[in-house]
Amino acid sequence: MAPNANSIVISANALDLTFQTADAPVHALKDVSLDISQGDFVSFIGPSGCGKTTFLRCIAGLETPTGGTLTVNGMTADEARRARAYGYVFQAAGLYPWRTIAGNIKLPLEIMGYSRAEQNDRVARVLDLVELSDFGAKFPWQLSGGMQQRASIARALAFDADILLMDEPFGALDEIVRDHLNEQLLALWARTNKTIAFVTHSIPEAVYLSTKIVVMSPRPGRITDVIESPLPKERPLDIRDSPEFIEIAHRVREGLRAGHEDD
């Protein structure tokens, strides 16, 4: 499956998801339609509880929609999951405490049957990428929250998946580290031409990173706006002071505010 530009990788059509709970059912996603092309960097933004995580989990085949259709790489989401089509970075680092950092990154490689040598190779490479080379032998609790989060990103990058699903990966980090990792992520994306779906609460982050910003709104969770970014692929940090940037950020903020008004 050679990635050719503009081929559609993820396609959601009138997706619906209702959680059955003890009391009232929760309508988490309603009529969500969205196409994501090869090489896209799509950010999802919206108030707490609007269904961002739920949508990402649907794509990952971790949640089964109750209506609509969803294809990933032309397969159902579940088939794509079994075909190991994506790497997933959770909202919290979720490292296994009984494994070292290197061991945690090795985990998917072991499961996917990489050779021992290849495993070590890749671990070294991604550790370097997230600047944790000195910490491979440490255990998760010996690292600060930010370092743990970086390790979990490394874990998702260690194997070759064309799709990267990231759920607020930088939520727990301070602004400087966050800026730094944003830059790194952009560089990686440019280099590998991966397709990235990225959930965030931060408007500047969404605008800075994405080719496409999806604004969502709760109760029931739905897409209220999809903003295509005119920003160039090459993005220095100070692009954030440019009028285009501020303009897009403004539009996102307005979209968000509209969603909040509903309450």
Partner: protein, 281 residues
């Protein structure tokens, strides 16, 4: 009466000393951690000795610790023989078989939800069977030697171990499991790489509980029939012979062996579950 008053005095003095040690500046060091319970134990022994002497308690009711100690030392070969019979043959083999079987059952139970919902309630019920009733039955089935003691131990440790292991295997968080699913990992990889490691603290909880159960089970089972050796045999016959010093010497052996067994398992636990917050400190 003098001795009784002295006992009281020593009790208070030692307690004050312990409070000092426990709240003093080196309270967190290993030495103090061992010293404080040791002093406490020693105090109990001294007070016991003084009370037995002071109140002139008959030997056949309660022997003094010094008396127990001298019996302990002079009867070491017998005690060692009994320990082998009861602990090494009866308790340990039953412990290994029982915990091993429970572990394997737990993995089955964990895999098949139907079994879990069916077996656990029934298991809880069976676990409530008092040993006093099961021991005579098992002695009848498995004979007088250590095999029946091992059987009693198996019955005693099986369910605590099963329940703990099953609980442990379910201890993973939703996110940890989801991570495995994103890798498209099948049953075995997620068992060996996620659920078993995550279950270890619980498994060791079961193993620790089972240590004391195993020893008690083996000893008690000997009350219901045994060859002419074993700790339970010695205890019950010595009571009949009014050799209370021997009874207490065996009890000391039981407490030492039981605590050591517990301690060894706790040590292994420490090295296996070093990552768990309760072990990190």
């Amino acid at each position: 009466m003098m001795l009784v008053a002295l006992a009281l005095l020593i009790w208070i003095a030692m307690w004050v000393l312990n409070v000092r040690l426990a709240t003093g500046e080196n309270a967190n060091t290993r030495t103090i951690g061992l010293l404080v319970p040791a002093i406490f134990g020693l105090t109990i022994l001294v007070v016991w000795e003084l009370l037995v002497r002071g109140l002139a308690v008959p030997l056949v009711i309660l022997p003094a610790p010094s008396h127990v100690l001298s019996t302990f030392l002079s009867e070491l070969p017998t005690l060692w023989l009994d320990l082998q019979q009861t602990f090494l043959k009866g308790a340990l083999s039953g412990y290994i078989i029982g915990c091993g079987a429970a572990f394997l059952t737990a993995i089955l139970v964990d895999r098949y939800d139907f079994l879990k919902r069916g077996l656990l309630p029934v298991g809880n019920f069976v676990a409530a069977l008092p040993i006093v009733g099961t021991a005579p039955i098992l002695v009848m089935w498995f004979g007088f030697d250590w095999q029946s003691k091992a059987a009693v131990v198996v019955v005693m440790v099986f369910f605590p171990m099963l329940v703990n292991t099953v609980a442990g295997l379910q201890e993973t968080t939703a996110m940890q499991r989801d991570l495995m699913r994103t890798y498209g990992a099948g049953y075995w990889p997620s068992l060996t790489k996620l659920r078993l490691p995550a279950a270890m603290p619980f498994i060791f909880n079961g193993l620790k509980i089972s240590t004391t159960l195993a020893l008690i089970g083996a000893i008690v089972a000997e009350f219901f029939g045994s060859p002419t050796m074993g700790m339970g045999f010695r205890i019950s016959t010595s009571v009949g012979q009014l050799a209370l010093d021997m009874v207490w010497a065996e009890i000391v052996v039981a407490a030492l062996a039981g605590s050591a067994f517990y301690g060894v398992v706790a040590l292994v636990e420490k090295s296996v579950t070093f990552w768990h917050p309760s072990q990190r400190k």
